[in-house]
Amino acid sequence: MHGNWSMVERAAQLLGREERETVLGDLREAGESPWRGVLDIAGLLVRREALLWRNWQPWLAAFGLTLPASFLLMGFSVSVSYSYLHLMTAQSDVLTVVNQAVLLLAWGWTGGYVVGAISSRTLWASLLCCFAPCLFCISRFRAPHLSSPCLLLFLAPAVYGVSCGLRGSRLPTNTSLGVAFVTTLLTAVAINGGLWSMHWLLVWPSCYLAMNAEVACT
């Protein structure tokens, strides 16, 4: 019996400290069986998670941003890698490589920031929507002269962006507007140069950042 109760206590580790205390106390006082206790705790966790998904933010972060952006950014990471390789053989110019690198950093960071800021409590779903496409593409990646980690160049700025978004740190209004302007400009240049117009999808996080900064100042 006591051994089984440890199962309830382990399940309760998924709750917050105060809630764990009261839920375990309630189950003890009611004299519930360990299985009933585990079911009750699971039910509470499911209800809490379901409540989070009644808002639009987790849906937007996971399926409106992370999932499509992961595919686009993996493709663009390969483009940057090729541009860099061509730079070594003088088939590409420095400006193109710098333009693409800045764009990759901006898209990755701003996208990650928005995901962290609007879906901090459902981040697991956004992470799943990023890592599933990554694993899928890595397993099928065949490109001459490039190794599969080239697909993941966007991850470093994206992860940093997520950590900034989770902290809720805000950029000053001028900086945010600057980031949005530069990102939009470089995107326009890249799309004019033959990049798929679907990449406009990656611009809105920088606009969100600018709007968010403005709200913070008013």
Binding site: E18, E19, E21, T22, V23, L24, G25, D26, L27, R28, E29, A30, D40, I41, G43, L44, L45, V46, R47, R48, L51
Partner: protein
């Protein structure tokens, strides 16, 4: 307007007064309805009512019957009392002609 479970919860808390905490409310609701409500339903409803300003909760003392665990104490706010009264008045009004609400019923 409150939901029926919200009304039951507020009424149980108001009836228990100073002794209102999650497990006691759960017992009151079970005694009234004949059905045990789950911890998940109870806690998420308490959270919702608290966010609406209808309840106030805080951590109470620990007791040996609870394995030394603290209680989540509950108190109904004046706004909660008004919401429960509105719900009760609406139910009483709408039920005035129903057979189960008249003396002849049963």
């Amino acid at each position: 307007m409150l939901g029926e479970f919200e009304y039951l919860l507020i009424t149980a808390a108001a009836t228990l007064g100073e002794q209102a905490y999650s497990a006691a409310i759960q017992r009151e609701i079970a005694a009234a309805t004949g059905t045990r409500c789950s911890i998940g339903a109870l806690y998420t409803t308490i959270d919702r009512l608290e966010s609406k300003g209808l309840l106030r909760t805080w951590m109470g003392e620990a007791t040996p019957t609870r394995g030394g665990r603290a209680k989540r104490m509950v108190r109904v706010t004046p706004k909660g009392v008004q919401a429960a009264k509105d719900f009760y008045d609406a139910v009483a009004y709408i039920s005035r002609g129903a057979v189960w609400a008249t003396k002849e019923a049963g």
